[in-house]
Amino acid sequence: MPGGSEDERDLVDRAKRNPEAFGALYDRYFTQIYRFAYSRVRDQSLAEDLTSEVFFKALRNINRYTYAGHPFSSWLYQIALNAVADHYRGQRGELELEDATSGGTPSGAVVDEVVRRDRSRRIWSAIDQLPKQQRAALILKFAEDRKIDEIAQILGKSSGAVKLLLHRGVERLRKELPPLEAEAEVGFEPGS
């Protein structure tokens, strides 16, 4: 089966008419969705709002969900992604960043940010600075361990386009991140 176990399909089936089953879906996916929301907004209160929105939207629309070969979580991620986009829509930060960085010129501010933070925060902060589609693809791949097909489903793109996003994202990080030697200079020990 390409995605979504029999057990999950069964659970989703039941969740369309049985509140308890929907509760089980919530229990199963809450952590993932909350983590994903938090990874996108880096704000606990906002992540809570977005997570609420995701599950209430899922509840309202679960009867429209049709199994299409992907896990149910893909659908939830898709809702989450839209919720995040809605949240940022009209807000300067994300859109400007998208516009400013999509040209491919490494931003000095990005590099500065990377160098300033610790290793983990640096790499993920750098991911945070990527254009939103690249960022979403990288988060889903590296933080959420989603398959490329699933990510394509979530982002509404082809698998090829997702591969391109991942490739470009990693390539961009590679260019923007300081070499490991540079990290050592700022007191960072590789491999720790």
């Binding site: 509140p19 909350y34 606990q44 490739h167 490991l180």
Partner: protein, 749 residues
């Protein structure tokens, strides 16, 4: 870390792996999480789910058979149908608004709203309404929105067509309605629950509660009770009214009570009476009794047809002062009411039957369902009267304060003893005290559970500031009383819904105003038969879902060899071919227990025109669903009837229930029926030899469009027959005879 082949394929060169490794090795830490948030969100979601997944917030075994194909977006089901007909009367072609399944399933107890964007001749439009299946209705206008109010809740699982066909001359300065093309609105109502083959237990230890939802603003509703069919609430609310006491005095604003019907979701549907209070609906649901406070020293008792708005009510009695409780229905054709120290009876024309009873002033009264006996408090104690003969019998000495009859004819009442209240149950085989308080609590309202196995009792602590609460106690006195829901919250006048799905109650808010709430009830433990039914129906709904999606492989996966062969031999279509009428919706129509782990599940599949999406016909299949190890499979399939939609009344559900001494077959129709055409001759059961069976009882409830046939049936197969003699209120006969196989199996014994 496990290698990811996708990443290895994506990044073949080592140049990127430094970054990939870095990302993988430094995944973000778990984000900060408030554990309360997780639980809080879950609680809110579950409350919403229970409110919206089932139209009536039914308990688990009522709710689960909802066909996924039909179970639409919860939000859509939660609102009334609102269709904007844009310039409907300006455009040349007919304006058709289709609310397709999955988008706009409409609750059966909600009014239909059609919004107009421009001025219309409201009288002409209101008179132009035609509803199929035949449905009695009234209309009102809310601004530019036409509100069509069915007199009885719509049938479940039914496609409705509402047409506005203007026929009369328009009013001045409005669009010429006569020249307008018809407006057509099509929608489908929410699916009905499939009744369990084994009734559930409402014993106190088998009940849990959750999802308390406020359904009316503070102060908006001052009392609430259920209609006998459980489809609506009857509420008293206060409204501001300007009155002019006399020609010489100025108009004064005044707050007056009104009686309304309200959906369990909190939508006010229809005003039933103005300047009215203390309503009581007759057991058959056809009449409403209410009090009017005419003068400071006088009140009058009125009766109106339930369909009326109170303007054609009949005054049947007057009393001094203001009564403190609703009149008591004695059967559906008489009322009992207290008049000081006398309990009087009166019929619906105001004629007093020859029975007056000396009672404790202000005493409560309750009548058994069929109206033969009346219980009240007299100087001798709790006393039972035979209404026909006037003979009385003291059930118990003492001061009785509250009475309630169970559906099976037992009488519960509260006695005020020196030590505190006592709850007693009187049955033909004796009298039993089932609960008592030694703490001085005050007990008031009693509400029997639907299966009469337990009682819900309103309680209040002894102290002056104690808040109202409630508890359950088993009617046989076994077990311990169980508190209703949260003990630290207030529950005033709690009342079971007739189907046991919920309890409605009042709760004061921080400002002291009462707010109407509804709590969902969950049945704790399913019987083995219920659990098996749950599994069997789940397989069938999945099977139907696969067929509607055209997924042959998935559909076949739920079939045993024999059933598979039946479909493959071309006897029955499993999926529809492109260009043919497509499956618009399908649902479980009825479930019968044949033997343990073997069910006969009848499904109905509705086909629609692929171009217009209009539902054109339906067919039924009888599926034998059998447990094979851990799972159920559809072992056999028999074709059922095929019916063209829109040609007279149709049956929308059949439910067969077995009791030790008899079976009851309940048949619901989609259309309001001409009552004279519904009889033992037009709807009956016949045995396998073709002989009609004699029912021991035959009832037709026009409010719910339901025929109930009670008969003593033996193991074997019977056929329920609905003849073409049944006609709807418009005079249209059923297009063809309806046959439904009734199986009385070992599982029913």
């Amino acid at each position: 870390m496990n290698p990811d082949p996708e990443l290895e394929e994506l990044f073949p060169s080592g140049a990127h792996w430094e970054v990939v490794d870095l990302i993988q090795a430094s995944r973000p830490a778990q984000p900060p999480l408030d554990p309360y948030f997780r639980n809080h969100l879950r609680m809110k979601l579950m409350a919403q789910a229970r409110r919206t997944m089932s139209p009536r917030s039914q308990p688990r075994w009522f709710a689960w058979p909802r066909t996924p194909l039909l179970a639409t977006a919860a939000a859509a089901a939660a609102v009334v149908l609102t269709v904007g007909v844009y310039n409907a009367l300006h455009q040349a072609p007919p304006s058709v608004a289709v609310v397709p399944p999955g988008i706009g399933l409409i609750r059966t107890a909600e009014p239909i709203r059609i919004a107009f964007t421009g001025p219309v001749d409201k009288n002409a439009v209101a008179q132009s309404v035609r509803i199929e299946p035949a449905t009695l209705y009234t209309t009102r206008w809310d601004g530019q929105t036409l509100v069509i109010i069915p007199l009885h809740p719509l049938a479940s699982n039914t496609g409705y067509t509402v047409k506005l066909v203007p026929q009369t001359a328009p009013a001045p300065n409005t669009v010429a309605a006569t020249a307008a093309p018809p407006v057509v609105v099509r929608f489908v109502t929410t699916p009905a629950a499939v009744s369990p083959v084994v009734p559930p237990s409402f014993r106190s230890d088998n009940l849990t509660f959750f999802g308390e939802v406020s359904i009316a603003d503070p102060g908006a509703v001052t009392s609430a009770s259920w209609t006998p069919d459980g489809q609506a609430l009857i509420v008293t609310r206060t409204v501001a009214e300007t009155v002019t006491p006399s020609a010489s005095t100025a108009a004064l604003p005044q707050v007056v009570p009104e009686v309304w019907s309200m959906t369990p979701q909190g939508t006010l549907v229809r005003r039933l009476a103005t300047r009215a209070t203390l309503p009581a609906v007759a057991p058959d649901g056809r009449h409403l009794a209410f009090w009017r406070h005419d003068r400071p020293d006088q009140s009058s008792l009125w009766v109106s047809a339930f369909e009326d708005d109170g303007t054609h009510a009949t005054q049947v009695a007057t009393v001094g002062g203001l009564p403190n409780r609703p009149a008591t229905w004695v059967g559906s054709d008489r009322l009992a009411y207290g008049d000081g120290g006398t309990l009087r009876l009166v019929d619906l024309q105001g004629t007093p039957p020859p029975l007056t009873v000396a009672i404790t002033p202000g005493a409560a009264a309750a009548a058994i369902n069929d109206g033969r006996f009346l219980a009240t408090a007299t100087a001798d104690g709790a006393t039972l009267f035979d209404v026909a003969t006037g003979q009385s019998k003291v059930v118990s000495a003492g001061t009785a304060t509250t009475f309630a009859w169970s559906s099976d004819g037992r009488l519960a009442f509260i006695l005020s003893a020196a030590s505190g209240p006592q709850l007693w149950v009187a049955a033909p085989d004796g009298l039993k005290q089932i609960a008592a308080s030694s703490t001085g609590d005050r007990w008031s309202d009693i509400s029997w559970s639907p299966d009469s196995s337990s009682l819900l009792v309103a309680s209040r602590g002894a102290s002056a500031d104690a808040q109202p609460s409630a508890f359950f106690v088993n009617a046989d006195g076994s077990g311990k009383p169980v508190a209703f829901a949260a003990q630290d919250r207030e529950y005033t006048t709690p009342r079971w819904s007739p189907d046991g799905s919920s309890i409605v109650f009042l709760r004061g808010d921080e400002t002291g105003r009462a707010r109407l709430w509804i709590a969902t009830v969950r049945i704790g433990q399913l019987s083995a038969a219920d659990a098996a039914q749950l599994d069997a129906v789940h397989v069938v709904t999945r099977f139907l879902d696969s067929r509607q999606r055209g997924n042959l492989a998935d559909a076949q996966a739920d079939l045993g060899p024999q059933a598979l062969a039946t479909y493959q031999n071309g006897n029955l279509p499993l999926v529809t071919a492109p260009g043919d009428p497509s499956i618009a919706r399908s649902y479980v129509f009825g479930v019968q227990l044949v033997s343990p782990d073997r069910f006969l599940v009848t499904v109905r599949i509705v086909l629609a025109d692929p171009k217009t999406r209009q539902e054109i016909r339906f067919f039924e299949e009888h599926l034998t669903v059998v447990r094979h190890g851990e799972r159920f499979l559809i072992d056999a399939v028999q074709p059922g009837i095929t019916t063209i939609i829109g040609q007279g009344p149709s049956v929308v559900s059949v439910h067969v229930q077995s009791a030790p001494s008899h079976q009851q077959v309940t048949v619901k129709f989609d259309a309001d029926l001409a009552a004279a055409t519904v009889s033992r001759e037009s709807i009956y059961l016949r045995d396998s030899s073709g002989q009609r069976t004699d029912p021991t009882d035959f009832q037709f409830d026009p409010n719910t469009r339901t025929v109930s046939i009670r008969a003593k049936l033996h193991q074997g197969k019977y056929t329920l027959v609905g003849t073409t003699g049944v006609t709807d209120v418009n005079g249209h006969a059923a297009a063809q005879e309806y046959d439904y196989t009734v199986v009385i199996g070992s599982g029913n014994d």
